[in-house]
Amino acid sequence: MTDNLVTDVQAMGGDIKDSGQSFVTMIVADQLFGVPVLDVHDVFIPTKLAHVPMAAPEVAGVLNLRGRIVTAIDLRRRLGYPLLEEGKQVMAVVIEHHGEPYSLLIDSVGEVLNLADASCERNPVNLDQRWRDVSGGVYRLEDKLMVVLQLDKIIETGNGAIAA
């Protein structure tokens, strides 16, 4: 696999020497996702989620994070997965978008990975439309693939969904 990788990169005329990027990995319905580590402000176990009627379906509600009101977005819904069964523990990753805090509800949070840019590929052309909008590329890891989430898109498309 490593051999292939090098050949690929050389074939594309790319530079093998790259600094790479660090990602916080998270798992949603057994799929690995990554968010640049510097974008993550907080990781916590959400409690007391207040439902917001009439909001877009992916808006799970609002919650209180140390005196700040954070809007929670259910990644399962956003990505088109079935919802987690009632009562199962979820995790929340806090990010910021235009100065507003949002939290992404995920199944569990993984380790921080430092990945070489070379192992990143553009979205496969046959990727689900819903995913293509939010994916910033796919990293080939040893045993699985990690999708990089474009946070702006995740939140903004949610906005569009309300307007529609």
Partner: protein
């Protein structure tokens, strides 16, 4: 010291510091428009304020540098180091004048003509040549410090600067040597550096460009060194102290001692921490309550008290009456009225409306701008007013009040209104729009151009306004805090600017309610009263068909279920459980299925419109700090914000305005809002309604427009024929209908009749008496299943049955359809009726059906377009103009832009019948335009339209 002056000094010092830093940034990257705009605005503000405080020297200097900046902005002038230095120099000159101002409360003597001359020179596009520059700088050095105090400044500097020079600073001797040695424009820059050394630390940045050319190399690092963030007041003070040295202590620093300027972020952090503290306290209280005789009781009580006070204190630091922002205005207007030669009366009300400090700060400048604009552009000259037959004194009104979770500030003038033609031509000239687009725009949209950057219709640039800064700044500042600004204007009558600011951080009292197991807050300010409704109390929710209403003190109160508005679904378990609790609480032994029996009605008032929100439960009221919702939730109109309650849970705050809109109700227009009515997309329509009694005791009503005449006939003239009562009337036999079969005609005297005429036929409806004719909006609240009735509406404060005239028409002429069948078969045209008012749908649809159209009625444009998507075809579309959401004009353009219905004729019906409306209607593609109540006109128009269509095809 004068408060006004005091504030001016602090503010201007702040602004100037920013300008210093920004200018240096700007010089590095002259293409950064944002930075330039910012500088320009700041200088503009300084200039403006100076003018009002009667500080001609400052104003002149600022005006000259603003001119140069303006040229930069418009791209007429190349950004050069020299020009920027010159502006920095003028900033220094301003600072030095201000220092004197602070010490003596007067502008120092002297003039700055040389500096201004140079600035104007640059503005005119000529570089000031070297020799001249030296001469000028000589002058400059002498000028700003003509007074003895000031003249001592320079020698004083070094002694007061009794500390090692920081990196990047240059000693005065060095500078002077450099000054003497350096030729041409550099020299003048050196001088500016020399001046800048006065305020030793903060001005390092401004010094830099000059120092680069004349002083040591390491000074080039200066801009990178962060400018120390000294509190401006303190800085001003230290500046003064430095200047005066040990010489005199007589002028005690007066600015800094009375108040401390604290960064709002710090307050915000404090607030957050206090909230946390409150939460923790609540938890502790909870724990202790469960243990009796805890030793923590006493200390906890104290903690409780202290926390509450702390919370109140912190909250208080944030609130200020809006009057604080208005204090300056009377003075400003007084001066303005002299300057402009206009007589202006400023009327202010609602000055004690409390606003969050941060919000207040942010709207202060926009407000000043807008009031100045009103005085300058809005009001006509005194002669103009007299010529227009108005009182010579122009009135500018300023109102502030809380409304439904918002603070509304209204600035109105009784001047000439916006000149739409001028705005149009300016918009075209600036390239904001094209000729074609302009035709499509409503007056409202055209008015909104004044909020675009660089837009000013003032003929000449005066020192008051007309530079095109202003309204765009106003708008961007207001939008920054999530507010909106609107302008409504009427030619010859004046304009009204309405600023609506969400109570972003304001503290409000809110009522916490529950519906379907979820809690929500309703701002207390819009809650009128609470009513508990149950089947065995005097108040109960009555349902008329699907519509819930409540009888409240002889009035029918329309109700909305919060769960319906929010689309909540009751969790059956919770509902039952609550019901049980409620049962226990009320001691009732009710049937378990009587679930909706015990409810709370929150009587809510929006404007003049009252309605009830039905909720499951009502908790306490709580003081809450409204926080704006995240942008992705901002489109949901039923929420005005959210907040964290004392127990730490997040709760959404309902916006009564949004709920009123969501339940499709209409609000009464009050007089003040009449100006807005023309443009408001509000479905309220007042029509004349005839009220009469017949048969039962309930009053009945029909729209007057349907009635041809009111007649009385002698009872003896009533004959019976073919099983119905008839009377000979104008050479025809007119059938007389009774409201119901059980109704008896009068036996003697005269029988009053309502005469309806439809096409060629006339018919009389027998009534007992005509009660009244009222002008009111007719909204059928409860549709009726009863034959001959459309439904019930509140008319004249009473529940009134609205009579379905078409029902009686058909009844009077059973042969009606036979007669028309041929015609119908021939035409059998399918007609789409789009109208948001259920009354008109109910009234027009049967009417149109009786004359032979197949009618499909929908309540809004979106539904109409859905039908198009579904592939339906219509021969003619009849659409209302004023509808919520997409209005008739938009609908027509939309229909015309798509080929499916592109050729279908559209007839507009509207309650407004001005020629402009007609023209606009035609221009967007309406085939015809009819006034709504003109029934005959409508029928004729449809027929004609169809006829034309037929002959064209």
């Amino acid at each position: 010291m004068d408060d006004l002056l005091n504030e001016f000094l602090t503010e201007t010092n702040e602004s100037l510091d920013v300008v210093d830093a920004e200018l240096v940034r700007f010089e590095k990257d002259p293409n950064d428009k944002a930075v330039l705009d910012n500088i320009f605005r700041l200088v503009h503000t300084v200039k403006g304020t100076c003018g009002f405080l009667d500080l001609p020297r400052l104003e002149a200097v600022a005006h000259a540098s603003e001119n140069v900046l303006g040229k930069f902005r418009d791209g007429e002038l190349q950004v050069t180091t020299e020009a920027v230095s010159l502006i920095l120099e003028s900033i220094d000159a301003i600072k030095s004048i201000m220092a004197d101002l602070e010490a003596t409360e007067k502008e120092p003597e002297g003039d700055d003509n040389e500096l201004i001359g140079k600035l104007n020179c640059v503005a005119a596009g000529q570089a000031p040549d070297g020799g001249e520059a030296i001469a000028q700088t000589d002058m400059l050095q002498a000028e700003p410090e003509p007074e003895p105090v000031a003249q001592e400044t320079e020698p004083d500097i070094n002694p007061t600067l009794d500390r090692p020079l920081r990196p990047g600073e240059v000693s005065l001797e060095e500078l002077e040597a450099a000054f003497a040695a350096a030729p041409g424009p550099d020299a003048e820059a050196g001088a500016s550096a020399g001046n800048a050394a006065d305020d030793a630390s903060a001005d390092i940045a401004s010094e830099a460009p000059a120092a680069e050319s004349v002083a040591s190399a390491d000074s080039a690092k200066a801009p990178e060194q962060p400018v120390p963030a000294v509190a401006p007041a303190a800085k001003a003070e230290s500046e003064k102290a430095e200047k005066q040295g040990g010489k005199s202590e007589k002028a005690e620093p007066s600015v800094a001692t009375q108040s401390v300027r604290v960064n709002v972020d710090l307050l915000e952090d404090l607030m957050t921490m206090v909230s946390e503290l409150v939460l923790t306290r609540n938890q502790l209280l909870q724990i202790v309550r469960q243990q009796e005789d805890s030793e923590f009781n006493v200390p906890l009580q104290r903690l409780n008290l202290v926390t509450t006070e702390l919370q109140e204190g912190v909250m208080k630091t944030r609130m200020q009456p809006i009057g604080n922002a208005w204090q300056k205005l009377p003075r400003i207007l007084r001066d303005l009225s002299h300057e402009l030669g206009k007589k202006i009366d400023l009327q202010m009300s609602g000055a004690d409306t409390e606003l969050d400090r941060q919000v207040l700060e942010l709207i202060k400048d926009p407000l000043t701008h807008m009031v100045r604009n009103s005085a300058d552009h809005g009001l006509e000259s005194t002669e103009g007013r007299i010529a227009a037959g108005k009182p010579p004194v122009g009135v500018i009104k300023l109102d502030a009040y809380h409304e439904g979770g918002h603070v509304i500030i209204r600035i109105s003038d009784d001047g000439g209104g916006l000149n739409l033609e001028k705005i149009k031509s300016k918009a075209l000239a600036v390239g904001l729009t094209s000729e074609g687009e302009l035709d499509q725009l409503s007056e409202q949209q055209i008015s909104n151009f004044i909020f675009k950057p660089g837009f000013s219709t003032a003929q000449e640039v005066t020192s008051v306004s007309g530079r095109g800064v202003g309204m765009d700044v106003v708008r961007s500042n207001i939008e920054k805090i999530g507010g909106t600004v609107e302008v409504r204007s009427e030619v010859g009558r004046g304009s009204v600017f309405t600023i609506k600011i969400p109570l972003t951080l304001a503290i409000v009292s809110a009522l916490v309610v529950e519906s379907c197991g979820e809690r929500f807050a309703i701002p207390q300010i819009s809650v009128v009263e609470l009513v508990r409704a149950s089947s065995n109390s005097e108040h109960r929710v009555e349902k008329l068909k699907e519509t819930p209403v409540l009888r409240l003190r002889d009035q029918l109160l329309p109700l909305v279920y919060l769960s319906d508005v929010l689309g909540l679904e009751a969790d059956p378990d919770i509902a039952v459980q609550q019901d049980d609790e409620a049962d226990v609480a009320a001691g009732n032994d009710r049937q378990p299925d009587a679930k909706n029996d015990d409810e709370f009605v929150v009587v809510t008032q929006v404007g003049t419109f009252r309605f009830g929100i039905v909720v499951d439960r009502v908790f306490d009221t709580e003081e809450i700090v409204v926080k704006p919702v995240a942008p992705i939730l901002r489109d949901i109109s039923v929420f005005s914000g959210n907040t964290i309650l004392g127990d730490g849970s997040v709760i959404m705050i309902l916006d009564p305005n949004g709920i009123a809109d969501a339940c499709g109700d209409v609000k009464d227009e009050n007089d003040e809002a009449a100006l807005e009515a023309a443009n408001a997309q509000d479905s309220s329509e007042k029509i004349s309604i005839l009220i009469f009694n017949t048969g039962s005791a309930e009053p009945k009503a029909v729209p007057l427009s349907l009635v041809s005449r009111l007649e009385e006939v002698e009872c003896t003239d009533i004959e019976r024929s073919n099983g119905i009562d008839v009377v000979q009337y104008r050479g025809q036999v007119m059938p007389i209908l009774r409201i119901s079969d059980s109704y008896e005609l009068r036996k003697e005297g005269r029988q009053p009749l309502l005469v309806f005429a439809d096409e060629t036929r006339t018919m009389g409806l027998a009534v007992d008496e005509i009660v009244d004719i009222v002008e009111e909006q007719l909204k059928i609240e409860l549709p009726s299943d009863c034959e001959g009735m459309l439904g019930t509406a509140v008319v004249n404060g009473m529940a009134t049955e609205i009579v379905d005239v078409s029902h009686y028409l058909v009844k009077a002429f059973p042969d009606w359809f036979d007669e028309n069948r041929q015609e119908r078969a021939k035409s059998n045209k399918h007609l789409l009726l789009v109208d948001d008012s259920s009354f008109f749908r109910n009234m027009l649809a049967p009417l149109l059906a009786t004359v032979g159209y197949k009618v499909t009625a929908v309540e809004n444009a979106d539904r109409a377009l859905e039908l198009r998507e579904l592939g339906n075809h219509f021969d003619v579309i009849v659409s209302d103009i004023e509808m919520p959401g997409m209005d008739g004009f938009d609908l027509a353009s939309e229909i015309r832009s798509d080929e499916r219905w592109g050729k279908t004729p559209i007839v507009a019906i509207s309650s407004h019948g001005t020629p402009q409306d007609f023209d606009r209607g035609r221009s967007v593609g309406f085939t015809d335009y009819v006034v709504k109540t003109d029934r005959r006109g409508l029928l004729e128009s449809i027929q004609e339209t169809l006829h034309m269509e037929g002959s064209a095809a």
